[in-house]
Structure formats: structure tokens, C-alpha cells
């Protein structure tokens, strides 16, 4: 028999109690007389070793049990102490869930015990025994099947917790502990009365017997159930009656609050789930409502926090709220309930413990001082891990849990819940990412050092790595998880890059990454067809070309390459994905990678945050859309094809997905993240995020529109709306670009406008429209990468992005000038270069479709593009060279090579547009058979007109060459003059700075049409952020730190709760 070797779970309780009893003999006072510090040190350590031993054994027992449940088919076992039947004995149950939860409690207890080594030395042996009792109590809470025993264990746990808080010997902790005692005392009171009533009406104290007694059907039984449920809910610190709990988080030492957050919350939660079986469906619903209020409220509160512990406290409470929601909806979730709980619980458990431990390592609660963590990049890595895990980003378990949650809820028709949960998650992301941004960007106090003894970092390491492993486990368990194999190898490479990241110079990593991407493209992408192949060329081909610029960097560039590769894996994954799970994981991977890339820029902290917020918001909308599609298609499949078969909610799905994708293409209204993010990024990151990443949104739209065609919402055709939106985006984006003083911001706004063209053209849903969109997209990719690289090179040399500070750089950087010149000609769509293809096609499409006014707006946008194009090249490269740039060098060769590759591409496209457009047209025919373009050799013939790129190029070159030769002949003896040899009305200029016309270049234009570019959208989003903050600020007044107030809140909660439940 296998189970014979299993240790009886009662030993967990026994060892806990026994050891803490023994610990009582170690009187700390007895050893203080010893003069030898060494000696006293060793003796002080002895009780700690004893406790760790006890915890290890307890952990081992749980682990052993869990092992046999999982792999040996062990059956749950009831344990009765002292030979009595319940209610007279302590009645324990060791089942799979119990084993799991006790393992969680004991493991975090053990690791926190390790972690707290020096804290315990300070607090003395009493603390050790109290700590052990706490862990023991939590184990008891989990295992007991007896409602009275439950009360006892709860009491033990709360008193032990309060004791530990008080022992910290600081005034704040003392008051926090006291408040904690008052509140838990009150709650225990309610629980006790509830138990008495339950026993009276149900005749048993055993939970299972009570469940059979159907208490809710008995008049008084309802009251019993009410009291039990409300008190257990209160134990979980529901919003807003949780001030006492938050204070406890803030005041207790970091190891302890890791236990409170991870273990206590888990245990109490488990109890609630255990006890709820004595109730009926109504109570589940109530639990869900309390949960969602807690989730939203606590996360809202988190926004305003400046202290890490308190903020994490709110986050913990919020997470528990989410668990309550899931528990409350367990009926509707059916089979996937356990998986969801597992995922969310594990993420919360690992991440929260890990984050609390990090707080202890950093030794400050003030969020803005966290830059110091950068001294240990590994810890930053784990912090990122925990934050991503907490927020449910892949590859962490909560991602898969949330994914399943949303799909299942949608399938059950609970769309409001989906919305609220996603909204709450978004709010949570606000403060967690803000915090992470502080860590990555804010200046650290150089004086302070970061001490990281092994016993403190080990738990962090362990939990960090566990997060990944459990993520893997969850990914296997999730429906469709078997299709995730395509991510393993690439992500393994990312992991490899992380490992070598700190040791290799940048050129090795750059080469490795490029080779890996080439392999990735060759191995995975070779078989793709049509759209996917086209985007594969942009994503992977473009990615490799822009990465050549990476050779210009020196040093190690720690933390860059893993994320670049991750972003490209995400992008590639989008193309490879066949089901919505793969698609969504790819989307999130791409977002994650690009977030880290963007935040690397010098001043990009706020911009990266807003990027992340919009991306996550968009991702959540996509998730919601997928959920609806999953529900609306009628077939329980996660294949991407469900989009084609949607029967219900099709307008809503279309809207959600379209808006989600358009956060990436930065359509007007959702564009405010883009300029900052693109402009402040590093010089080789800007082309990646601008020229390549934006196309991901376009690819999303391609998938959506091909699958769903045209949909309408409320009688309005959605593509029609998109068309207007795209046109307005194009115009306003370009107008805003024309008024920028910062070169990279100008380019970023130009991207907004250019993607507006794309959205506009796609909205046509016609052959020509899509051909236009693809021509625009290809063109935008090439010239925007070219321009960002060229300007990046200039910025690298001049150390400024403000255009009017430059000037006359053509003399010093002629090669960059040529790049920019070609780039802007392609951008503005002048024949004979490739940009004209898109313009010509768009006119055809406009006339064919009859969207004259939208087409007109887009034409105007094209005219405005001239303004900023010229400004870009003039103010930087022409005009007067400045004193301080007299000896400036040409951009590094590594930056120039990709530029010239791209110029080659532009020239090739321009000479032979049919080479690219013809095949695209051919595969577009299967989707849009009507109105295809005819090709007559190199001449495109539409029903409206004709365009021969080859002929135009040749004729233009012919004329150009002839005139140039003539002029060169006529002025063959020209004297080369310098910058001040200009006619200045008989005067001579005094300084180049005063002779360069660059600032506010289009002043008259701004005077006339500037009213169009008032930052209304920015104000709108700022307004929303303000509202969130002020709500948060208002709610914060509930938490005034007054113990009586907190007790009153608890009672008020009970009263309100009673009104709503038993009325």
C-alpha cells in the first residue's frame, strides 16, 4: 500500500503546536547574560532552526499528500481525534484541495520563516512560536470539517497575527494590531453566534451534515447562514469594511504580511468555499457581488497609494475579491471553475508573497524610492515577473485562468461580469505598472546600498521560477493548450537570452537575435500564404533590417534583446495563430516586449505607462470580443474561424475587436499614447515600434474584416464609421505632425496619420481599397523605418530632438540627408517614388466606392503631409549649420546600412510596382473578386485610369538628368560659398542661431487652422484619469485610521449586507 507511508496530516497540527510549545522554553532573556556575542548568536539561531525544521516537516507532509492525490490516486481521508465522532472531536479532512492549500500555506510559511531570520532574531523566540502557531492555525482552518473547530482555528490565527503585528514594537504596529484585534473580535462574535444558531437549527457542527440540513429553508437557519457567511466574508476584508486589514498589511513586517496576503487570504478563502456548501444559490450570488465590489473598490484605492505595502495590501484584497467573484459564479463556471481558481490563486499567491518579500529587500515603502532595485537586475526581473503574473499576462497561470474565465462567463451570457472584471484588472494595472515604471526609470538614491542576503533572495527566486513553471502547467491544462507548442522553442530562446544577457557584448547578442529571428522566419513562416506572408515579411524581414542598427550601440545593453525577440515572437505568433488563444497570447507577448522596449527611453516613463494602459485596455477589449465570439458562434471551439460563424452579438464583437486593434494603430481618440512612446524610445526602437509594431493592429483588422465582413451596430454600418474615423485620423494626425518642434514626435504623429490612411482604405471592403491599404502599409513600413533610423542617427549625434536647434546638417551628414529625402518623397506620395502607388489606388477606390468626402479629407491629409515633410528636412538638414555642430560626424555605419537597404527597397518598388502589387491583387481576388486592377506589363489599369510606374520613373529620370547636365554645364565654374555668403539686405548675419528659420515654421498655418488640433482628446483622457483619482481620493477618506471607525464600518457592512440578503 502506498498510503501506508503517508504521514498522518494530524501531524501538521501536532508538530506545529508541539514545536511552538517547545519554543516556549527558549527564554530569550536567559541567554542575554552571555558576554560572547558569537555564542549568543548561535543560541539565538537555534530556536529558529527548530522552527524551520518544523515548518519543513509540515510542508513535506502536505507535499507528500498532494503528490499521492495527484499521481497515486489517493482517496481523501477523514481524521477524527480522540476517537470521538463529531461534534465532539476535532474532525479533519485531507483531500486533494486540502493538500494543495496546506502546501501553499506551509511553503510560504517556511520561506517567510527563512526570510525573516534576522527579524526573528530581533523579536525573540516568542515571535517564533507565535508565528508557528499562526501557520498551524491556518492549516487547521483549511483541514477542519467542523464549524466550531473552524472558529477556534480562526481565533488562533487572528490572535497570532495580531500578536506578530504587535511584537514589531513600533507604535504604528501597536495601533494596527489593536485595530486588528477589535475587528477580528467583532467578526468572531458574529461567527460564534452564527455557529450557535447553526447548531440549534441544523443539529450538527459538521459542515457536511449542515449542508444536508438545508439550513436556508429553515426560518432561523437563514440567520445562521447569514452570520456565518458575513463573518467569513469579513475575514476576507471586503471593501469598504477593510481598513483594519489594510493597516495590518502596512504595519506588519514584510515576511509576515507575505504570509497574511498569500497564506491567510488563501486559507480563509478556502474556508468560505467550504462553508458555502451549506447555503444555496442566492448566497453564491451575494458572494460574487461582494467580490466584485471589493475587486473594483480596492483597485481604485490602489491608484492613490504611495506606500508599497499599503498598495500591495489593496491589491491583495482586490485579488481576493476576484476570487470571491469566481467562487460566487462557480455554478455558472462549471467544469472550468477549478482551473480558474487554481490559476488566479497561484498567481496571486506566488506574486504577492514575492512582491512583499521584495518590499523587505528594498527596505522602503515609498514607491518613488524604488529605483534602487535596479542595482540587482535579477530582482527587477523577478519583480516584473510578479507584476505580470498578478495582472494576468502570459505565460503566467492567471493569464490562462482569466482567459478561461472570460470565455466561460461569456458563454454563460454573463457579459456584465466580464466587463467589470476586465475593468477592475485595468485599474489594477495602472498602479502596478506605474510602480514598475518607477523601478525601471526613477533615479536611485546612490548613497543607499541594497543588501541581498541569500536567505532573502532565495524565496524570491524560488517563487519567481515557480511562477513560470506553474504557468507552463496551466498552459497545458487550458483548453487549446496543446496548440501552444509553437511558443515553446522561441520562448526558450528568450529565456536563454535572459541568462546570457549580463555576460555578452551587444554585437554578439544582436547577431544571435538576428540569426534567431531569421531562423524563426524561415522555419515557422515559410509556409504562410497571402496576408500572413506579407505581414511576415514586414514583421520578421523588417525586424531583422532594423536590428542592424543595434550594432551602433556599445556595451551590453542589458534587458534589451530578450524583449526585442519576445516582441517579434509575439508578432510572428499573430501570423501563425490558428485559434484565438494563440492569437491572444501573441498579442500580449508583443505588448509586453514592446512595453519594456519603450520604457528604455530616457524620458519615456509616463509614455510607457500610457502605452501599457491603452494596450491593455485594447487587449481586454479584444479578449471581451473573443469571449463574445466564443459565445456567439454557437460552436464550442476556440478556432479563429468562429469569427466567421458568429450569429449573435456580431456588431458588438466587431466593435470590440476593431477598437482593440485600433488602439495599436492609434486611431484618433486612442492615439495619445503614441507620440510620447515613439518619440522618447531609443533610436533603433522607434523604427521597430513605429514602422513594424503598428502593423500588428492592422493585421488584427485584416483578420477581423476577412472573417466578419461588414457588420453594423444600431443600424450604422461599422466599416462606414471606420472609414470616417480613418479619414479624420489621417487629417488630424498629419496636422498635429505639422506643428511639432520635436523631430521624433513629428514622425510619431505622422504615423498616426498614416495608419489613419490604412484604416480608411481597409474600411472600403473592396478590392481596390484593400490593395490601397496594403500598398500604404508596405510603404509606411519602409519609409517610416527609414525616417526613424535616419532621424535616430541624427539625434544620436546631436543629442537633441528639437529640430530648430539643428540646421544645415546636410554638410556634415549627407548620407542621412539622402535617406530623409527619399523617405519624405515616398511619404508624401510624389511620383515617381512608391508612395504614389497608394495615392493613385486610393483615388480609384474612393471614386469606385463613392466615399467622396472621406476621400477628400484623406487628400487634404496628404497635402498637410507636405508641410511636415518639408519641415522635417528643412529645419534639420538645410538652413544654417550651428556652431556646436561644426564637427559633428555622419551617423554610425550600422545605422546607415539598414537605411540604405530600405532605400533599395523603395527604389525597387518604385521601378517595379507590379512586382509587389500584382501578386497582392491576385490573392485579394478570392476575397474581393470585383473591381480588380488589370496589369498591362508594368502599367496598372483600373476602370478609371492608368498608371505606369516604370514609364514615369524612366521619363522623370530622363528629364531630370538632361536638365541637371545642362545646369552643371552652364555653371561649371561655380564658386563654392559658405553659409554666411547670403544676401541679407546688405548686412551680414551675426550668428547662425539667429539666421535659421525653424521655430514655429508654419506659424500662419497654425494661426489659420490651429483650432483643429486643440488637445481635446488628451484632455478627455486626462479627465478620465482625474475622475478615477478623485474617486479614489474620496473613498480614501473612509480609511481614517481610527479603530472605532473601522469597527463601525464592520458593523455597518453587516447591517447593509443583512438588508440586501435576508432583508
Amino acid at each position: 500500500m502506498v498510503d501506508s507511508i503517508l504521514l498522518n496530516p494530524i501531524y501538521i497540527i501536532g508538530i506545529g503546536l508541539g514545536t511552538s510549545f517547545i519554543l516556549g522554553f527558549f527564554k530569550s532573556g536567559r541567554f542575554q547574560a552571555h558576554p560572547s556575542a558569537m555564542h549568543s548568536e548561535r543560541i539565538k539561531t537555534a530556536p529558529w532552526v527548530l522552527m524551520i525544521g518544523a515548518l519543513t516537516v509540515m510542508t513535506f507532509i502536505s507535499a507528500e499528500w498532494l503528490w499521492s492525490f495527484l499521481f497515486n490516486g489517493q482517496l481523501p481521508q477523514q481524521i477524527y481525534t480522540a476517537g470521538f465522532e463529531p461534534p465532539f472531536s476535532i474532525n479533519l479532512l485531507m483531500g486533494r484541495n486540502e493538500a494543495f492549500f496546506t502546501l501553499m500555506v506551509n511553503l510560504v510559511g517556511l520561506l517567510s520563516g527563512l526570510y525573516l531570520l534576522d527579524k526573528f532574531k530581533e523579536m525573540g523566540t516568542h515571535a517564533l512560536s507565535v508565528y508557528l502557531v499562526l501557520i498551524m492555525g491556518l492549516n487547521g482552518i483549511i483541514m477542519t470539517r467542523d464549524i466550531f473547530n473552524l472558529f477556534v482555528f480562526l481565533e488562533i490565527a487572528s490572535i497570532a497575527t495580531a500578536g506578530l503585528i504587535v511584537m514589531t514594537s513600533d507604535v504604528k504596529a501597536l495601533s494596527a494590531g489593536f485595530k486588528y484585534m477589535i475587528a477580528t473580535g467583532l467578526i468572531s462574535g458574529f461567527l460564534l453566534i452564527g455557529i450557535i444558531f447553526a447548531y440549534y437549527f441544523g443539529g450538527s457542527l459538521n459542515i457536511d451534515s449542515l449542508a444536508e440540513a438545508n439550513l436556508t429553508t429553515v426560518q432561523g437557519g437563514v440567520f445562521a447562514v447569514f452570520l456565518i457567511v458575513v463573518s467569513l466574508l469579513l475575514e476576507l476584508k471586503p471593501f469598504p469594511a477593510n481598513g483594519w486589514g489594510i493597516d495590518a498589511y502596512e504595519a506588519s513586517p514584510v515576511g509576515i504580511n507575505a504570509v497574511i496576503s498569500s497564506a491567510s487570504a488563501g486559507a480563509t478563502y478556502y474556508v468560505l468555499s467550504k462553508v458555502l456548501i451549506i447555503t444555496d444559490a442566492k448566497w453564491y450570488a451575494v458572494t460574487a457581488v461582494v467580490g466584485i465590489i471589493t475587486f473594483l473598490g480596492s483597485n481604485l484605492m490602489g491608484i492613490k497609494q504611495t506606500n508599497a505595502k499599503r498598495m500591495l495590501g489593496y491589491s491583495s484584497v482586490g485579488q481576493v475579491g476576484l476570487l470571491l467573484v469566481i467562487l460566487g459564479l462557480s455554478e455558472q463556471l462549471g467544469n472550468s471553475f477549478k482551473f480558474i481558481i487554481f490559476g488566479i490563486m497561484m498567481s496571486h499567491y506566488l506574486a504577492k508573497a514575492g512582491l512583499f518579500w521584495l518590499v523587505g529587500i528594498v527596505k522602503t515603502g515609498i514607491l518613488k524610492d524604488w529605483g534602487i532595485l535596479r542595482k540587482k537586475p535579477v530582482l527587477v526581473f523577478f519583480m516584473g515577473t510578479f507584476i505580470f503574473a498578478l495582472l494576468g499576462l502570459p505565460p503566467f497561470p492567471s493569464f490562462f485562468a482569466k482567459w478561461t474565465l472570460v470565455l466561460t462567463l461569456s458563454a454563460a451570457g454573463l457579459n456584465l461580469w466580464v466587463g467589470l472584471i476586465l475593468f477592475g484588472s485595468l485599474i489594477e494595472a495602472v498602479y502596478l505598472f506605474r510602480w514598475f515604471g518607477y523601478v525601471l526609470k526613477l533615479d536611485a538614491d546612490k548613497e543607499r546600498s541594497l543588501s541581498t542576503p541569500f536567505y532573502r533572495t532565495f524565496p524570491v527566486w524560488l517563487f519567481g521560477l515557480l511562477s513560470y513553471y506553474i504557468g507552463y502547467v496551466a498552459s497545458v491544462m487550458v483548453p487549446g493548450g496543446e496548440t501552444l507548442g509553437m511558443f515553446y522553442l522561441p520562448l526558450a530562446f528568450v529565456g536563454f537570452l535572459f541568462i546570457i544577457d549580463r555576460y555578452l557584448p551587444v554585437w554578439v547578442k544582436n547577431t544571435l537575435s538576428m540569426a534567431a529571428m531569421a531562423l524563426y522566419g524561415w522555419y515557422y513562416m515559410a509556409g504562410l500564404s497571402e496576408f500572413r506572408m506579407l505581414f511576415a515579411i514586414i514583421f520578421i524581414g523588417g525586424g531583422i533590417v532594423t536590428m542592424i542598427a543595434g550594432y551602433a550601440k556599445s556595451g551590453k545593453r542589458v534587458g534589451f534583446y530578450p524583449f526585442v525577440v519576445m516582441m517579434y515572437i509575439g508578432l510572428g505568433g499573430l501570423l501563425l495563430s490558428e485559434n484565438i488563444l494563440q492569437f491572444f497570447i501573441s498579442w500580449e507577448l508583443m505588448t509586453l516586449g514592446s512595453y519594456v522596449l519603450i520604457i528604455r527611453g530616457k524620458k519615456s516613463m509616463p509614455h510607457a505607462l500610457s502605452y501599457m494602459m491603452f494596450s491593455l485596455g485594447g487587449a481586454f477589449l479584444i479578449l471581451a470580443g473573443f469571449g463574445l465570439a466564443f459565445a456567439g458562434s454557437g460552436v464550442s471551439s476556440i478556432s479563429l474561424d468562429i469569427l466567421k460563424n458568429v450569429t449573435r452579438y456580431s456588431g458588438l464583437i466587431y466593435t470590440f475587436l476593431a477598437i482593440g486593434f485600433m488602439t495599436k494603430t492609434a486611431v484618433i481618440g486612442l492615439h495619445i499614447w503614441l507620440p510620447g512612446a515613439h518619440a522618447e524610445a531609443e533610436s533603433d526602437v522607434s523604427p521597430m515600434v513605429s514602422a513594424i509594431l503598428l502593423k500588428a493592429g492592422m493585421f488584427g483588422l485584416v483578420v477581423l474584416m476577412l472573417a466578419m465582413g461588414s457588420q453594423s451596430l444600431g443600424g450604422v454600418s461599422l466599416p462606414y464609421l471606420l472609414g470616417w474615423l480613418g479619414a479624420i485620423t489621417a487629417l488630424l494626425g498629419n496636422l498635429m505632425a505639422a506643428f511639432q518642434e520635436d523631430a521624433k514626435r513629428l514622425l510619431a504623429y505622422s504615423s498616426v496619420g498614416q495608419l489613419g490612411y490604412v484604416v480608411f482604405a481597409m474600411a472600403f471592403m473592396s478590392h481596390l481599397g484593400w490593395l490601397t491599404a496594403l500598398a500604404f502599409a508596405l510603404n509606411h513600413f519602409v519609409f517610416k523605418a527609414l525616417l526613424f533610423l535616419a532621424i535616430g542617427g541624427v539625434v544620436m549625434r546631436t543629442k537633441t530632438k528639437t529640430m530648430y536647434e539643428m540646421g544645415g546638417l546636410i554638410k556634415r551628414m549627407p548620407l542621412s540627408f539622402i535617406s530623409v529625402l527619399i523617405g519624405i518623397i515616398a511619404l508624401s506620395g510624389l511620383p515617381p517614388l512608391t508612395g504614389f502607388a497608394g495615392k493613385w489606388l486610393s483615388y480609384n477606390a474612393v471614386i469606385e466606392k463613392g466615399w467622396y468626402f472621406q476621400g477628400f479629407l484623406v487628400s487634404i491629409a496628404g497635402l498637410v503631409a507636405f508641410l511636415y515633410c518639408f519641415r522635417l528636412i528643412h529645419v534639420i538638414f538645410l538652413g544654417q549649420p550651428k556652431d556646436k555642430f561644426k564637427n559633428i560626424k555622419e551617423a554610425p555605419i550600422a545605422m546607415l546600412i539598414p537605411q540604405y537597404i530600405l532605400i533599395g527597397v523603395i527604389m525597387l518598388f518604385s521601378l517595379m510596382p507590379n512586382m509587389v502589387l500584382k501578386p497582392i491583387g491576385e490573392f485579394l481576388v478570392q476575397y474581393f473578386p470585383d473591381g480588380a486592377l488589370q496589369w498591362d506589363g508594368g502599367t496598372a489599369v483600373s476602370s478609371l485610369g492608368r498608371w505606369s510606374g516604370v514609364a514615369i520613373m524612366n521619363i522623370t529620370i530622363g528629364i531630370f538628368g538632361t536638365i541637371l547636365i545642362w545646369l552643371l554645364f552652364m555653371s561649371r565654374k561655380a564658386v563654392k560659398v559658405k553659409q554666411f555668403n547670403i544676401f541679407y539686405s546688405g548686412e551680414a548675419p551675426s550668428r547662425p542661431e539667429l539666421t535659421h528659420y525653424g521655430y514655429n515654421f508654419f506659424a500662419p498655418y497654425k494661426k489659420a487652422v490651429g483650432f483643429l488640433v486643440q488637445p481635446l482628446v488628451t484632455r478627455f483622457w486626462d479627465g478620465i484619469a482625474d475622475i478615477l483619482h478623485s474617486i479614489s481620493d474620496f473613498v480614501r477618506r473612509l480609511y481614517n485610521g481610527n479603530g472605532q471607525m473601522y469597527a463601525f464600518q464592520v458593523i455597518l457592512f453587516v447591517v447593509v449586507f443583512s438588508i440586501f440578503t435576508i432583508g
Binding site: K884, K973, K978, G986
Partner: protein, 217 residues
């Protein structure tokens, strides 16, 4: 513009390096007029003759009035005199003009600007000096700040005497200028290049704060 602006200075570059700036060397072309270039003629006489005819029939005046004569030029474009019919037009930039009219007395301060403007014109260029002031100082002959003889500083092709000359005289002056050009004698610019050092010596003698390169391209 003053002497201060052509002093050498040191600025800090973007990489934190120090950069020496010598405005005269760095910002101005150091070349002086090349006599060969100024006298460049087509090897085929008929073409040169044709070119001279075109030059004489297309006289573009630089719109730069010095002294009191500036206002006296205005009647030329009125219906009564209408110089346009003789191929004479007015341009606002020396780059596109080939006739410079010194219309009256020249103070030293204006002389500096006149030299700059004259040198900025492409050759062949012609200089028409108006009024007694440009010939011998006229009524300002003993002024502390006006020059006496223009031809010491710039090569004059045609003098039109008078104080001020009537528009008819100016038209007559244009006629003689045209004749000069047609005869291939409108070579003021070549003369300037030939006796460049002498001109510069005279100019520098009276312009005490010489704050420009020797030749303003």
C-alpha cells in the same frame, strides 16, 4: 553685425568637446574674384556680341537707394518715363541684378553695405553713379562722413552728373551704359578684380571696423 561677431569663440559640442569657431574662416568663402572668370568671353565673337546685346537690353537694377537719389529714381517707372520699355527692370536681390545705381552721396556706413551688395552681384555687373556727390562729394564734399569719389571704392561705368540729375539724364545715362556694353566695354567687374588690392586698400582706409571678408560672395 559688428566686429564682435567675427571674433573667434569657443563653444561646447554635443559630445562635450570644445569647438573653436573663427567666423571669418568658417562662415565666409575666402575666395577673391578671379580675373579670368570676370573676363570670360565666348571664343566665338558673334556669340559674345549677342550675349553683350542681351546684357545691354536686359538691365536689372538692384533696388538699393543710397542717399537722396533713391527717391529720385522712382519717376523712372512712372508712365511718363517708363524704363520698362528699354528692358530695364528692378529686382530686390543683388543675386539677380546686373546694374547697381549709387544714387547720391554715400556715407561710410552705407558704403560698407554698398560694397557688400555690389560684390554679391554676379558679373558682368555695371555701376551707374548718380549725382555730383558720387563724382566729387558734391555739396557734402567737406562732410566728416561721406565719401568724395566713388571710383576710389567701386568701379564706375557711367557717371550721371547733377544734383540731382533729372530722369531724362538718367535715361541718357542708361543709353550710354547700353552702348558701352554693346561695345564690349562694360567691364567694370573685371576692372574691380584687376585692381582688387587697390580698391580694398581704399575701402579699408575709410571703413575702420572692417568686419567682413575681403570679398563678399
Amino acid at each position: 553685425m559688428s566686429l564682435k561677431d567675427i571674433e573667434k569663440r569657443t563653444v561646447i559640442g554635443p559630445m562635450g568637446e570644445e569647438i573653436e569657431i573663427d567666423p571669418l574662416r568658417d562662415y565666409y568663402c575666402a575666395a577673391t574674384p578671379d580675373l579670368k572668370m570676370e573676363q570670360r568671353k565666348s571664343s566665338i565673337p558673334i556669340i559674345e556680341k549677342f550675349a553683350n546685346w542681351a546684357r545691354s537690353e536686359s538691365l536689372w537694377i538692384l533696388a538699393f537707394g543710397t542717399g537722396c537719389g533713391g527717391i529720385e529714381l522712382r519717376p523712372l517707372v512712372t508712365p511718363k518715363y517708363d524704363v520698362y520699355r528699354f528692358g530695364i527692370q528692378i529686382r530686390a536681390t543683388p543675386r539677380q541684378s546686373n546694374v547697381f545705381i549709387i544714387s547720391g552721396y554715400l556715407s561710410v556706413k552705407t558704403l560698407k553695405r554698398a560694397i557688400r551688395a555690389y560684390e554679391q552681384m554676379p558679373s558682368p555687373k555695371y555701376l551707374l553713379a548718380l549725382g555730383s556727390c558720387t563724382i566729387n562729394g558734391g555739396m557734402y564734399w567737406d562732410s566728416y562722413n561721406t565719401i568724395n569719389r566713388l571710383d576710389y571704392y567701386l568701379p564706375v561705368d557711367v557717371y550721371v552728373a547733377g544734383c540731382m540729375p533729372r530722369p531724362e539724364s538718367i535715361l541718357a545715362g542708361f543709353d550710354s551704359l547700353k552702348q558701352l556694353i554693346k561695345d564690349g566695354k562694360g567691364e567694370g567687374a573685371a576692372k574691380y578684380a584687376e585692381k582688387f588690392e587697390w580698391y580694398k586698400k581704399n575701402q579699408k582706409q575709410i571703413i575702420k571696423d572692417w568686419d567682413m571678408p575681403d570679398y563678399n560672395w
